[in-house]
């Protein structure tokens, strides 16, 4: 398969740390506008894969292309973010000493140079966009709260909101519902499905209820490579997936 016409294209990617192969000849293709769920046992290389896509880790071998032509291995985190790839961490990472509103303001797409930031004045369009996101992530009432005071689930949403503000083409979402209540989980699934209408999303998650609710193509990773790929039913009936992951 060619990288052309794909949004994200990984081929033959490997990386090892001190002899430990975290990613082993991994290939993965994501089409524009697609949402994909990634499952796999601990240590299967899910987080390392995200690190490679976002430029935190450089692969030892293999191709990583974004938008068909952009070689991601040649860019660092900030450049890749500006290309249009947003990332949500496993542990919600928001700026705790800023308000909810300021968190979104910082994430908002726009120039990133220090000089423009020094003399930045918020435009009406930006303010409106922030309001819109505040409604989407259900935090309008709490927009003046310090992010530190939000509940765990609210922090997760704020971080998703920050991704939206960044206006990326591709969102990488690492375990968005870990530690959430059932109701929050269901809401989050809804939110992600909404988001996926306009952009591509990769969701890494353990929670099978949640993955089922997302109702998208699933990729199962194991020991750094793809074990199975397809609908959730297809994957969960795969003998090897059952062996390594779901309990034999």
């Amino acid at each position: 398969m060619k990288a052309k016409d794909t949004l994200l294209y990984l081929d033959g990617v490997s990386v090892s740390f001190d002899g430990f192969r975290a990613i082993n000849n991994l290939s993965l293709v994501l089409q524009s506008g697609e949402m994909r769920a990634i499952i796999g046992p601990n240590g299967a290389g899910k987080t390392t894969m995200m690190d490679i896509i976002t430029g935190k880790t450089k692969p030892d071998t293999g191709d990583v292309y974004f938008n068909g032509t952009v070689d991601l291995t040649g860019h660092d985190e900030a450049e890749i973010a500006m290309l249009g790839i947003g990332r949500k961490f496993q542990k919600p990472t928001v700026f705790e000493s800023h308000t909810v509103e300021d968190n979104l303001m910082l994430a908002l797409a726009g120039p990133r140079s220090a000089f423009s930031a020094l003399f930045h004045r918020q435009s009406q369009a930006e303010a409106d966009h922030i309001l819109e996101i505040l409604y989407t992530i259900r935090l309008f009432e709490k927009r003046h709260w310090l992010a530190a005071n939000l509940s765990h689930g609210q922090k997760q949403w704020l971080e998703i909101g920050m991704l939206l503000a960044q206006d990326p083409k591709l969102l990488l979402v690492d375990e968005p519902v870990a530690g959430m209540t059932d109701a929050e989980t269901a809401e989050t699934a809804k939110l992600l499905r909404d988001i996926a209408r306009t952009r591509s999303v990769i969701v890494v998650e353990h929670d099978m209820h949640f993955v089922r609710e997302l109702d998208v193509k699933v990729t199962c990773l194991h020991e750094g490579s793809v074990l199975a790929e397809g609908s959730l039913d297809h994957v969960s009936n795969d003998q090897r997936v059952i062996e390594v992951y779901l309990g034999r």
Binding site: T54, K56, D76, E77, A78, E79, A81, M82, G86, R87, F89, T93, V94, F95, E96, S97, H98, T99, D102, M105, L106, A107, R112, S113, A114, A117, L118, F119, H120, H144, W145, L146, A148, N149, M162, Q166
Partner: protein, 395 residues
């Protein structure tokens, strides 16, 4: 108009500090020069210089807090920038001595004549001009900081490693400036100043003017710092302090932001040093001592890092204590300073203002709980940016 403009860029506390500093800049000289010595309100000249010295330290503390408190870069070498600014001013003052030196050489400062130098080294050129020297006061620390920061931030040296190499930086400069053949007066440094801009540095009026200039520069620094912190750039800096990699994944070039604030901070420290030298009458290599830089860190810690007013408070209080103790009980001072380091880190990590801030937040929580069941406090004290304590309602 002006006040309104000021208020859009500075919070209430900052505006109060600026107003207070401007008032001090006016009243202290008045009380020194116009009120007769017999009056109880008279401020003696030695006190003017002493207060002036404290305020230059306060300026250094504000500079340090800009990088440490708001951006998480603990510099153990800010004394180096302070001293470089001081040396630039000292070189100007040396050139002003002219033929009035002991050896009466119209061009060469005494120590060069003493070392048998025949002509002025190239790097002393231009320092007979005040404005050139003033430019160097900010440029020399600025360029050094820029080069150092460019190397360090680009290769992502952070945390204690950065602290240690900043300390090595000032230590290297200390060794260098001790050398006679560096051309900065070696061990003895630069001293015996006569005039500044044609006025006698010893005269009461000059001292008052220097004091007023210091207070005004400090006010300006408070304004500048507030402006930076309240801008989007300032919010990025705090974001870098709290979650550096998050900032990168949002597309910010963290190293450039750090470099910007680091360089600005070094320049402010240089100005502080330049104001310090004419008021104390000497600059020598001991200003590069790593101990000095670390002492500046404790001023910031005592006052409250991550606040703009805290460092001023801390610098003045600690140095007042130092003046008092070293005169009254010289043996006790280092014990007191050492204990201060230990106690502040153990019990007062947010400093005096942090203590006040958390008291305020608690009160806000109680108030909020009264009129609304489960709402955590709505704490946003614009310049503080200290996280409020965990909401009590959760318990």
């Amino acid at each position: 108009m002006i006040t309104q403009w000021l208020f859009t860029h500075v919070d209430r506390r900052g505006a109060f500090a600026i107003a207070l500093l401007v008032a001090i800049a006016f009243f202290v000289p008045v009380l020194n020069l116009l009120v007769p010595e017999t009056s109880a309100l008279h401020v003696p000249t030695y006190l003017v210089s002493l207060l002036g010295k404290y305020l230059t330290y306060a300026l250094l503390a504000v500079a340090l807090d800009l990088v440490w408190g708001f951006c998480g870069i603990l510099s153990l070498g800010h004394g180096a920038f302070f001293a470089l600014g001081g040396y630039a001013m000292g070189m100007y003052l040396m050139r002003q001595i002219g033929p009035r030196g002991v050896y009466a050489n119209p061009v060469l400062p005494d120590f060069m004549v003493f070392l048998n130098w025949k002509e002025l080294p190239w790097f002393w050129y231009g320092f007979d001009n005040f404005w050139f020297a003033a430019l160097m006061v900010v440029l020399v620390p600025g360029i050094l900081a820029f080069g150092f920061g460019w190397l360090a931030f680009r290769s992502r040296v952070t945390g204690v490693y950065l602290s240690i190499i900043t300390q090595a930086l000032t230590y290297a400069l200390l060794l260098a400036f001790f050398r006679n053949d560096m051309g900065f007066g070696g061990n003895n440094g630069l001293t015996d100043f006569k005039d500044i801009l044609g006025f006698n540095v010893q005269a009461g009026t000059t001292r008052s003017a220097l004091f007023a200039a210091t207070a005004l520069f400090l006010a300006l620094a408070v304004f500048l710092a507030s402006f930076i912190i309240r801008s989007k750039l300032g919010k990025v800096l705090v974001g870098v302090r709290d979650a550096e990699s998050r900032m990168r994944f949002l597309g910010y070039r963290v190293e450039r932001y750090k470099l910007f604030v680091w360089t600005i901070s070094a320049m402010l420290a240089g100005i502080a040093g330049a104001l310090y030298v004419p008021q104390v009458g000497i600059i020598n290599p001991s200003e590069f001592e790593p101990a000095n830089s670390i002492e500046a860190v404790i001023w910031v810690a005592v006052g409250g890092r991550g606040t703009i007013i805290g460092p001023i408070l801390g610098a003045v209080l600690v140095n007042f204590g130092k003046t008092y103790f070293t005169a009254a009980f010289p043996e006790i001072w280092l014990f007191a300073l050492g204990a201060l380091f230990i106690l502040v880190t153990l019990f007062l990590p947010k400093g005096i203002l942090g203590l006040y801030g958390s008291w305020q937040a608690r009160r806000a929580t109680r108030a909020a709980l009264k009129d609304d069941d489960a709402q955590p406090p709505l704490v946003k004290q614009s310049s503080r940016l200290v996280p409020a304590p965990e909401p009590q309602a959760a318990e």
